[in-house]
Symmetry: C2
């Protein structure tokens, strides 16, 4: 008996689908349980059978996003901290975003709402971990900005590039390319002072 509830198909799954759709469309706060219930042609009480609270719905959605991210972090932490590893992190993260695009758009556009939703801290921590994986330990400020920008450009890109004509897949590749460049620039090949005649190397 793999799955218990069978009678009406999986209502739980349908609730998640509709909830994510409405959360993304109108925002978390403005989406009411009544609205979700109506779209599913059930009552609010039916929702409460499957989820204890409204927040529980969003937490359950977050699982789908968390898994690939955690796997990515776990993988990266077992790798040498080389540039190749970092670029692979960017590549895989870009892939993870693609597979959970609506959810990520929701997270991006509802930061304020998500923040005090208890998964907010989790999400932020994950971003900081990824950031730590990308940057050098003693990185300069501009290189840190490059790494953060690389991460955020993949988030913001999905939403911002909607108004640019072009194939979505090509856009994704273009975003990945720029992010790759940023991380590469932030991780100079060998951090040795390669200027033998460094009489005045402009240090601002």
């Amino acid at each position: 008996m793999s799955t218990g509830q069978t009678r009406r198909g999986n209502t739980r799954q349908r609730i998640q689908d509709v909830a994510l759709e409405l959360f993304s469309e109108h925002g978390y706060e403005k989406t009411s349980l009544r609205e979700i219930a109506e779209k599913l042609e059930v009552t609010k009480a039916a929702l409460y059978y499957h989820f204890k609270t409204k927040e529980d719905i969003v937490i359950s959605l977050f699982q789908d996003l968390a898994r690939p991210c955690d796997e990515l972090i776990a993988w990266a932490e077992g790798q040498p901290r080389t540039l190749e590893t970092k670029l692979e992190v960017i590549r895989r993260y870009n892939e993870a975003l693609r597979s959970a695009e609506p959810l990520f758009r929701f997270m991006q556009e509802n930061q304020a709402a998500v923040r005090d939703l208890s998964i907010g801290e989790t999400f932020k921590a994950r971003m900081l971990t990824l950031f730590g994986l990308l940057k050098e330990d003693d990185a300069e400020l501009t290189d840190q900005v490059r790494c953060i920008t690389a991460l955020f450009s993949m988030h913001a890109g999905m939403f911002a590039m909607q108004h640019v004509e072009g194939d979505p897949e090509e856009k994704r590749r273009a975003i990945l390319e720029v992010a790759t460049e940023l991380v590469t620039a932030a991780n100079p090949p060998n951090r040795r002072p390669v200027r033998p005649d460094s009489a005045q190397t402009a240090s601002p």
Copy 2:
């Protein structure tokens, strides 16, 4: 000097200040008028005397942000579309962000709430205009991503860099530097030959 903090002349201004503070802190939807009123030690009705609706408060806040942005756009549209102009746009935009940081953070974190608030479209249009000013007309996809990333890195940077140690002013400069590099990379000289002696309206 007994500065009575409840001066009755500038209630409107005080409402704006407290509203922005709470909107930034808890998000737009979760901030109630009751909360604003309590913090000001007035009643909700007093708020409604100064602003027709809750949305009106946010619109009034938006004016402060809109003015410098509009001035920047107006200025840029009267300039030749050179790389120098574009870099100056980035520089001035970065400055505009600095002078209205809490508001911009609010806009960034409450996109979903702001979207159907009637100023959402205005805001988006402004971003697209800025984007159009930065990119070449026939720019490749990656160059367009570079320009968008330059803009968004300045937005996201302010929020994301909070967890990085360092002087805020230095961080701002680092962000500006990376944004400048992105726009520069997106406007390569070889794609559009720079003609140093072209007949152009004299720029001061």
